[in-house]
Amino acid sequence: MKRLLKADIYRMLKSRLTMVALILVAAFPVLLVLMYVGINALAGIGMEDGEEAVSLFTANTIVGSAYSLTNNIGLVIPAFAGILVCSDYTNGTLRNKVIAGNRRTDIYFSHLLTSIIFSVVMITLYAAVTTGLSLLFFDFKKDPSVNMGLEILYFVLYGTMSFVFMATLSTMLAMVLRNIAPTIIFSVVAAIVLVALCSVLMLIGSQEKYRYAFYLIPTYCSNYFNLQSFSVLGLLAGNGGDSRGLMFAEGMGSYVFFSVLNTVIGILVFNKRDIK
């Protein structure tokens, strides 16, 4: 398993796709932040002296969307992870692993771990560049009533976990569908549907009323959290530290459950499959 993982990581590092992804995650935040700076500047045009310009974007809003699955790079990373896994099928190199006597479950886990490493590295890099540039150009509003250190930890863990979850989904899709195009389509559609569903839930009801959504939609919790923590700080009023901790645990539990579910389905199907 360790050697398989080494082979898969070597394959990932040598792939042009990794190079393209690295360029994207490093360059895209630069373009994005510059665009936001421009929009903020345009919003200030025509203001009278003494009037305070309204900032459409703050560091809070930009950083808050860094881990979003449907914003910017969020859709690209799971799709790229799916392509990486699928290319083992399309190159036919998956055969070499089976013929050499590697257990199919080990092959699956090696792909899964590679996919998770790829996704986490890419989103961390993207979030780091986005945060750095945002803090450089925009104000970051702090809420003295909350423990910001803990909020940042929640935010990063949730964001990272959402991409781990997506990596388990795209790996499952790649190993089941064995074809790059449907893997990309289903990964993107799944991310859009999940985020759209939790956005609708957040718009139409309170957290308590739709608490079950925490368990059914794995992205719900992180969206709720990110929104609370960074974008709409006012929402934090009334939420004590204890309930935040509980919410965090429930949300992470939901992610873990669905990640395990994806993996179990993927392994069961892959173990039964004839390999072409």
Binding site: R3, L4, K6, A7, Y10, R11, K14, S15, R16, N91, G92, T93, R95, N96, K97, V98, I99, A100, G101, N102, R103, K272, D274, I275, K276
Partner: protein, 306 residues
């Protein structure tokens, strides 16, 4: 020692039996030639024994370990295979592909050893060191594929159509590589359409048709029992075929490509006598021994055998 044994192995796809109750036996040191027409079931059987597909019925064992046993993973590490085409990462160089393969099969080799391996299959490292495998010719990819198989020091190697895409020089190099490795103790299962090549290297052949194994025979036995045949390059093949068939009472005569073939221990003097009596001219008359190709054609009932 048995290297591969299959017992009533079958594989069905949507009701179609691609492999039908095949029982074959490969012993250590064999170069087993797997012969059959396109779609006969050769590749399907190779997929079964390499673990790429699961049998619908029957069983097989590698080194006497049944495929359902947990120990099968260990013995598979002693097996190398190229199924259909050599598979590799096309965006990597030959050396990089070998490094990946080392990790896949769980062996450690230095770059020097891997470069030596490339030269053993006829790939000049200096000439290809910066070239991506995707830019290799078919023959070069085939050779790299064999090098990847040999990375594991496997003692059972399965090659599915290894001569495909190779030039005559490539044929010779691959043949010599197979023979050399066999002398070092490597057992081979080789499927090929190029029967003349198999004739030169195999110790045993298995003939498969429509998913069924028609025959397994040692080359030694095939040559010992080889039937002599007389091949006549005739000026008027139909007339000669008719004369020999009606007047000669030879058990088996066939006509193909303008040549008349008389099988068995036919009396050459009697043949010549019939030709003279009927005033039939010939370009040449040769006495030959049966090859794999003749055996295969005869087994499958092809040609106009009387």
């Amino acid at each position: 020692m048995n290297v591969l044994t299959t017992e009533g192995l079958s594989k069905a796809y949507k009701g179609h039996l691609a492999v039908n109750k095949v029982s074959m036996h490969i012993e250590q040191g064999d170069i087993y030639g797997f012969v059959g027409e396109n779609g006969a079931g050769k590749t399907t059987l190779i997929r079964l024994v390499t673990g790429l597909s699961a049998p619908t019925e029957g069983t097989y064992s590698l080194y006497d370990i049944p495929y359902q046993s947990k120990d099968i993973y260990g013995v598979r590490r002693r097996t190398g295979a190229i199924v259909e085409t050599a598979t590799m990462n096309r965006y990597m160089t030959a050396l990089e592909n070998l490094r990946v393969q080392c990790n896949i099969v769980g062996v450690s080799k230095t770059d020097e050893e891997l470069i030596q391996l490339l030269s053993r299959v006829g790939l000049d490292y200096e000439a290809i060191k910066k070239k991506k495998a995707g830019n290799f010719s078919l023959g070069m990819r085939q050779r790299l594929g064999i090098a990847m198989v040999m990375v594991s020091d496997a003692d059972f190697v399965i090659l599915d159509e290894p001569m495909n895409g190779l030039d005559p020089q490539g044929f010779i190099e691959i043949r010599e590589t197979i023979l050399r490795l066999n002398r070092e103790g490597v057992t081979f299962l080789i499927s090929s359409h190029i029967l003349s090549e198999l004739d030169k290297i195999c110790t045993k052949i298995g003939v498969i048709s429509h998913g069924e194994l028609l025959e397994e025979i040692r080359m030694k036995d095939l040559h010992e029992n080889a039937r002599r045949r007389i091949v006549i390059d005739a000026m008027d093949p139909p007339a000669m075929y008719s004369a020999l068939k009606t007047q000669g009472a030879f058990p088996e005569i066939s006509e193909s490509d303008g040549k008349i073939v008389v099988y068995g221990d036919a009396d050459l003097n009697r043949i010549m006598q019939i030709l003279v009596e009927n005033s039939l001219s010939v370009r040449s008359v040769n006495t030959l021994e049966e090859t794999i190709e003749d055996h295969y054609i005869r087994l499958l009932g092809r040609g106009r055998i009387a």
